[in-house]
Structure formats: C-alpha cells, structure tokens
Symmetry: C3
Subunit: 417 residues, 3 copies
C-alpha cells in the first residue's frame, strides 16, 4: 500500500461524495419543480411527500435495498446481509492489501447509490399529485425503495441477468428514470385524472401550476445535480483516462440539456404559437434523461442532438398522454418514461457494445417488472386504505386535509390573514 494508493483512494472517495451530494440536491429540485407545477392548495402536501419520500428511501435502502441490489460485495445472497452497514465495517484498509482492492470507501458508494433510489421515487410523486392520499403514497414508497427498485437495479448494476445479456444503461435512463415513470403510470391509471381535468365534451382543461419561478428553480437544481448523477456514474476519477471520461460526461450532460431546451421551445412555438416556459423546462429534463443512458461515448454535438430528440419527444408525449386522458400534472411520465426509453434505444448509435435487442430486453424487463409490481402494490393499498382523497377533499385541496397547513396562507383567497 503506497502513498499514491492512499491519495487515489481519498480522491475517488471525495469524488463520489461530491457527486452524491449533488444527486441528493436533486431531491430539492424535484420538490421545487413539483410544488411549482401544482395548484397552491396542494403545495404543502407535495412538499411533505417529497421530503418524506427521501427519508423513507434512504432508510429502506439502508435496511434492505442496498443489500438486495448489491449482494456480492456485501456478503449477502438471497437474504440481505443486514450486518454490512450496522456495525464497524472498515475492512477497506485490509482489502488494500489485495490486488483487486476497492478503490474508494464503501460508504461513499452507499451514499451515491442511495440518492439514486430517492430520485426514482421522486418521479412518482409528481405524476400522482393533487389527488393521492399522503399515507398511501408513503406506504408505496416503502415497498418501492426497499424492494421494487433494488430488484431491477440488481439485474443490471448488481451483476444480474440484464447485465449478462448486454443491456447498457450508464447512469440510469432505465434503472432510475423509466423505473420511476413505470411506477407512476401504474399509480395514475388506478388513480384516475384530477377532477375537472377532462371534460365530458372532450375538452381538456389546462390546470396551470401556481409558481413557475419555483418550477424553473427546480429544473436548474436538477440540471446541476445531474452532473453528479451522470458524472459520478463513471465510478472512478483518478487517472487520466477516467478524468477525461468524467469531463466528457459533464460536457455531454450539459449539451443534452441545452439541446432539449432549444428543441422543446421551438416545437412549442410552432405547435402552440407561444414559447411555453413549462415546455422549455420539460425539454431540459427530457434532454438530461435521454443522455443518461450513455453520456460518455457520444460527441458533444451528438449529445446536443440526443437531448434535442428528448425535447421533441417530451412535448409530443405530453400532448399524447393528455389525449389518452392520462393525467400527469408535472409531465413526469413523458419526461422520465418516454425520454428514458428514447435514451436507451439511442445507445447503440454511439456505443458499439450495445445492441438494439439488448436495449429492448432491458426496457421491457424494467417496465414489465416495475409496472406490474407497482400495479399490484397500488391495488393492495387501494383495497386496504384507499389511494385517492374524496372529491370534497380534492376541491378543498390536499394541504388542509392531509397536512393541516396552507402553503401560501396570505396569497390566496382561502388563506387566513
């Protein structure tokens, strides 16, 4: 064990922790995005959901999710190795005497992985906003973050059959984003649309979000956090080749977001005659989701185009989903589901190791597993305690009903001075 090993280990650990902190920051991004895009009467409730789901995700992943997803390195197997993170585990120094030594702190790895789970769960909260019961949602979060997500995560990142089958998903267009969107779709289908969204005469009511600066802030937070999300997924920084790769991922991630903004804005201008801000925001996010499947092999230009394709598909998907009366207040299914699938399908264009069949297998497996288990779970919760607040509660708003507080008591008519 040389001094160089010591330093390299420290640098890689730090790189992981910084990237992990950036991904944790995405929790704030989702909270701001979603609270900006719902009506004021449902704002406090969605904020509560966002902070609570983050807490549940981290706790459940510590309890069992991490061990289910990465059983090998943690001495687990079918039963999770609960001991790993409970006791003193600093066997890393010992491990340094081996040639295939880990090159960063295991807890840094846990920290980086755990914030990904929370990201997947955050995607769900937006889609089911303004009508789902708070505690039903949180109960689902327990199962999703402790079981549904880790199992499919194991299949690829834990070395399972999707990994063997050649499915490529660098930072989680499928494992994180499609997973979140699939669970969201299952919930939305069981839940039904918000009251007043789809009129009997076939007209679709636009229900504008209450606070677009917050939604914009959330998008910028997510954009920034994505540097950690994708950049950290290289898993190693120390060394010229890895450093070049991380730098390329940063550039490509940024380029894709830019492409998404530009195309979504132009498409919105052409389709609606207006430069719809919410479409620009969703374009940025769709670009980011699309590049997440493979942020390393494309050139910066190709990344801009991949992001642009995400921007195109997200505007189209939002319109189509609305036509299908699938009510997703923040566009989460379009952004994370449709653009996630797009990103996965585009991988073979820049990465020779990927195949279209491998990608399709991954998409079908992830969607199938997450959608079906989620549908079962949402269905069970619906049977036991119900998943939707009453019509009267929906009219009054989830804030007073679920949280007993108002988000903006002085700004809206219902508010008390």
């Amino acid at each position: 064990m040389t001094d160089i090993t010591q330093l390299s280990y420290a640098l890689d650990t730090f790189y992981f922790l910084v990237c992990g902190a950036l991904v944790m920051w995405m929790a704030a991004g989702f909270a701001m995005l979603e609270s900006g895009l719902v009506r004021s009467k449902n704002t406090a409730e969605i904020l509560t959901k966002n902070i609570a789901l983050f807490a549940i995700a981290c706790t459940m992943y510590l309890l069992c999710g991490y061990q289910i997803m990465y059983p090998g390195g943690n001495g687990g197997g079918i039963l999770p190795a609960f001991g790993t993170l409970l006791g003193s585990e600093n066997t890393v120094a010992m491990a340094m005497t081996n040639s295939d030594a880990p090159y960063y702190a295991q807890r840094a790895d846990f920290f980086f992985q755990v914030v990904f789970v929370a990201t997947a769960m955050s995607i769900v909260s937006g889609a089911v906003a303004e009508r789902m019961k708070l505690w039903a949602f949180l109960l689902f979060a327990v199962v999703m973050t402790g079981f549904i997500y880790p199992v499919q995560g194991f299949w690829k990142w834990g070395g399972g059959f999707l990994d063997t089958a050649g499915f490529m998903d660098f930072a989680g267009s499928g494992i994180v984003h499609l997973t979140g969107a699939s669970a969201a779709l299952a919930g939305v289908l069981l839940l039904g649309p918000r009251k007043g969204k789809y009129r009997k005469d076939g007209m679709i009511n636009a229900i504008p979000g209450a606070n677009l600066p917050l939604a914009t802030l959330g998008t910028f937070i997510l954009w920034m956090g994505w540097f950690g999300f994708n950049g950290g997924s290289q898993l190693k920084l120390a060394g010229i080749e890895n450093a070049n790769a991380v730098a390329q991922i940063f550039v490509n991630t940024n380029a894709a977001a830019c492409g998404g903004v530009i195309i979504a804005l132009l498409v919105a201008r052409i389709a609606f005659g207006k430069a719809d801000l919410t479409m620009a925001l969703n374009g940025a996010l769709a670009g980011l989701v699309a590049i997440t499947a493979e942020p390393l092999t494309p050139t910066a230009w190709a990344s801009t185009l991949i992001g642009g394709a995400g921007g195109l598909i997200v505007v189209t998907a939002i319109i189509l989903l609305d036509k299908c009366r699938i009510d997703d207040p923040v566009g989460a299914i379009a952004v994370h589901g449709c653009s996630g699938i797009l990103g996965l399908l585009l991988v073979p264009m820049t990465n020779d190791s990927a195949t279209l069949s491998g990608q399709l297998l991954g998409i079908i497996t992830i969607f199938g597993w997450v959608f079906i288990t989620s549908l079962l779970m949402w269905g069970m919760i619906k049977a036991i305690m119900g998943i939707r607040i009453s019509d009267e509660q929906e009219y009054k708003g989830a804030d007073l009903v679920e949280c007993g507080v108002e988000a903006y008591p002085e700004f809206t008519q219902t508010g008390s001075k």
Copy 2:
C-alpha cells in the same frame, strides 16, 4: 517535500474549500427557511438580516474572531494577532519542511471556520423574527461573531479548558448550534412574544408562515450544506482512514436527517392528526443538529435513531416552549438548542472517549457563557436604542418600517399594484 505532499496538500485544501462553500450555502438555507416561516410583511426585513449578518460575521471573524478562537497557530495570545490575515502569510510552503507541517492552506481553514460563525448567528435571526429592530440585531451580531462565539469556540476547538476536560463536540452541536440557540433565547426573553401570539384567555394563536415552499427549500439547502458542515469537520481527507471517516460522516449525517423527518412526521400525525409539513422540516433539522455532536462513531442505523430522537424532542420542545410563552417563530431554539443538547448527551453512547460529565460540563459552560453575555449585550442595546419595534410598526410589518420595501408587493392586500 515530495510530490505526494504537494498533491495531498492540494487535495485537503480543496476538500476544505468545497466543504466551506457548502456551509456558506447554509446561509441561503437559513434565509429561505426563515423568510418562508414568517408573515409576508416581515419577509424583506428577515432577508436583510440574513444577508447582513453573514457579511458582519465574516468581517468580524476576520477582524478578531479567528484570532481569539485559534490563537496558537496564529502567533496570538491574549491580544489577537491582527496581522495574520492582513499581509502576505504564505509561510505554508516553508512549514512543509517541518515534520509537524500544516497539511492544508491556512486560508482554507479560515474559510471553513468563518462560515460556521455565520451559521451560529443565523440561528438567532429566526427566533427574534417579526418584532426585533434591524439595527439592534446587527449590533448584537457584531459582538456575537467577534467575541461571544469565538471565546467559547476557543475553549474547545482552540484547545482551551473544555478540550482538556474531555468535552466532545465533533462538528458543533454545542459550539455552533447550542450557542446560537442560547443567544436567541436571551434575546427572545428580553423581547417578549409577537403581538397576538398569546391571548389573555390562555389560547395560543398559530401564526402561519407565508411561503412554505421557501421553507422547504431552505431545509433542503441546510441538509445539503450539512455534508460540508459535518464532513469538513474531519479536517482531513487524504488517506484511506480519513476518506473512510468522511464517507461515514456523510452517510450518518444523511441518515440522521431521515430519522428526524420520519419520527417528527409520525409524532405530528399522532399529536395533531395531520402530517404537519413544518414539523417534518424541523424534524430534519433536529436530526441534523443531533448527529452533529458525533457523526463519526455511530453506525448508520444508530445515526437514524439519533436523528429520530432529535425529531421526537423537537416536536415536544416546540409545544413546550409555546406553553411557556417563549415565542420563537421558526422553532430555532427547539431545533438548535434542545436537539443540540440531546446530541451532546448521546455522544458517550457511541464514543468511549466521551463521558457524561464532560458533556454536561460543556453544555453548562456554553449555555452559561453565551446566555449570560448575550443577555447583558441585548440588555445594553435595549437600554441604548431599544430592541423592539413599536406596536404600530409591528402591525404594519417590519418590511416597510425598516427596509422601505415589500417582499411581495403584488401578492398581498397591502401591496401596491
């Protein structure tokens, strides 16, 4: 001086600067948290307080605070060594020839320390919100950050008698958070509650905050910044052991916040029948404060429980303080004081080097020193210029009176279109 030393020095300096930038970011967190939890008519004023106190804290700590707190390394003594940061000081390169060489830039250390002072002072502004005079507060900030804080900081972190006595406070549950809360309590006692908070018939009026998304954003910012706060307090990253420690601190800090959220939300649900968002936010912060005294030795599970204990105590303390008619609009005394004491008392459970008597000595010393000097200082300011705005001014709001601007001129009835 080898190349390895050069690199290690650079890595540790960078680690310090990144952590310091995260703690600086907490200033934004406090500003958002507090501005979200006060009424709109007092929002611009509390924002002014927050940005001004940060500026004052950094300037006073540069002027004398740093030298009072860390006299040894800076060639000080009783009189602060004003010269240290004034002139060219790059003797670090020279020092590298010694065996007990500093391993990172001294100014990085200053940067990391200075943002802690500002954190302590930020705690005060929330508790005295909506009724204290702006300039009285800023005058207090001068003394607090230039003298009161550095003296008790010296007693432990500067190598003073609390350090010798075995008091353990890893990242400042006592030195930063209890200090802030003690000064706040002294101010609140002299200041009295807001008009209309406690009715003569014994009823307590809830005065809801004007903007809960901002308060939530503030909590997420503080949560993120806390990785720098606790993670940086290991003081060294380079090397496997230190890197493991920093990673463990990140995981534990996050786990404690999660425990705080979950328990506070459950307690609020049981106590009030509602999932009160503000309790979830205070739970997160209380969990973070509780783990700050010792974020290294507990396991991740123990950290979740420690955070959960913080979440329990903060809800209880907020209710009790309200019963005692101690009016703290944002719950700062409960979060930073009560949970800070809890965290300090729990250190011996996971760290054998700590003793209950040592912890009690530290708590009593810090509270005694800060509370008494603050009470004297607040009293002097009260005698000279008064500390409370008039009843009419309080009714109109501090914004127009102190700042001449409104925070939300278009959203509230008093606003001009």
Copy 3:
C-alpha cells in the same frame, strides 16, 4: 508518465469540473434574481429568457465560440476548428509524454469556459427586462455568445493583443461582466425605458420587484457560484502554491461580497433612511464583481475594502443611471458595468504587474467593441423584426404575450383561480 501525474491530472480536472458546476449554478442565480426583481406579469418570460439563453450560449460556444476564443490550443486560426469537439479528441494521454503537457482534461476546460459565456449573456437579460421581445433577445444571444464575446475573450485570455499589452483581468470583471453590461447598455438605449417609469414631470416611479425572497436566493446562489468563478480561474490546484492561491481567492471573494453588503446597506440607510434590501443584494454582487479582476493579490482586508468600494459605487450608479433615464430594472449595468470598471482600475493597487494604462486600454477596448457591435446587432434586429413589445402587450405583461402562461396564476388579480 508517473502515477503522480495521473493523480494530479485527475485532481485538476475535478477541480475544474466542480468550479464549472458552480458557475453553471449561477444561471439559476440570475434567473431567480431577475425573476424576483421584475413584476409578476413579466416573470415567466424572463425565466424563459434565462433558461433559453443558457442553452443558446452553450450551443453557440460549442459551435464556434470556443474555437474563436482559444484558437491556438485547438489547431484553429482565423477559421474556427470545428473538429475539436466534434470527434474523438482524447489526445491528452499522448500529450502527457511532452514536457509542456496539458495538466487537465480539455473538455473540463471547455466546460469551465462555456458557463462563463452564459454568465455574460445572463447579465443582459435583466437590463432589458419587461419590454423586450423574447425572440429578438434570443437572436441577439446567438450572436453575442457565438461571436461578440469570444472575440474580445480571445484578445485577453486567448493570448491576443490585450494580453500582450499587459491588461490584467484575472477572472473577468471586464471580459465577462463589463462585456455583459456593455451589451445591455446598447440594448437599453435602443429599447427605451418601461412605460410609466419616468414621468413627464421629471418624477421617477419606483417599480418594485414582485418577489424579493427569490431575488435574495438568486444573490446567494451567485455568491456561492462565484467561488467557482474566481476560484476556478486560478486554472490549477495541484501543488502547495496553487492550493494556497485558490484558498486565498475563496477568502477574498467572500470578503469582497461582505464588504459590498455592509457599505451598500449603510449608504442606503444614509441616503434613503431605510435598509433597502435590494441595495444590500446589489452591494453583494458589486463587491463580487469588483474583486473578480484580481482576487489573488489583495489581502483579505483589502478585499473587504475593494468590495466595499463596489458597494458604494453601485448605489451611486443606480441613482445616477436612473437620473439619466436609463431604465435597468435589476441594476445590471451598475452592478456589472460600473463595478467591473472599478475592479479593473483597482488591480494596479495590489498587483505590480498591472498598470493603469493597461487597464484603461482593456476597459476601452472591451467597452468599445462590445457596445458598438451590440448596438449594430440590436439595430439590425430592430430593423428586421423589432425589439420591443407593443404598449398594449407591455401593459398586459410579457408572460401572456410571449409565453402564454402566467408565473403566479393564483396570486395576482389577472390570474385565473
């Protein structure tokens, strides 16, 4: 190529990427600052401008800006070397065999540089707010970020004639901030003031911003991002001397912001009798702009004073510009132009390598080039498509006209419930 070189390369690359991510984060800061300082009816539009200009800036700089600004290293010349970032370029590992090898990933350099361009462009959007056509602005952004900015950037940072002439501008008080302000001034002069701002009787109407917490958040975001902006401009971290320099830059940057806040607040108190929050915010930014020209050579105290001078000049300049009927809703010209010039002129006081004549040459060149080319460009756009929305549109607000959405539909009277 030793292991040390590998590690050093990775550390410097990471330092660049972290600093670049912080500067990217400034885009969110400008978006929040500007959206907080305009009226609610123009908020969604300025958010759209901010996210779109960032996307355009990154895309144009990739297309040609980077190659114009740094032709040497990229094999360019008069014609930009479009190939650089298009294909595989990882010649860095090869270059390591040379003695004058690059010491970090070229794409990390691109990432750091590209977010600077976006910063310069963000400055413009605030000054022309509330009355400029969205698409006219975006068209200008294309030319500004793809041509006007890179040309003057080349003159100094690319090794052009200003560099040879001894002009000193460490992190861009001139190249970024004065550039942004000069383009903004040209736009404002062609555009004219907002309706109702300057009355015929000579009175000046204050038009308060709709959301001061957002403006404060934006300021804190910019403050934090500035650590990357200035700290990254050292361009190298690895090694004791560089690490010391970066630490000093962090301390000085922070000190200058603090000085700016304190002086601006005191000046506002004396001039207006009130502690005007917006002046404190502009003071912080002016302090940061002033220190950007030379954040390394001053002591921390000198930095506080330089920042204080920025705080003084910005309040004065805002008042004077208003007297000249130059309507800049967010104070961008005062903050970035006046304080930028101040910072450049103060460089010789702490850095012996700089001369007053060299600084003046730089100021005149940058202002002359950017102002004249911008005026031409704005003029051409005005002739082709017009740059100002109609009076009726201005009365209704740019949001509905340009974006078809409202920023706060439930908080304002025009909003639909």
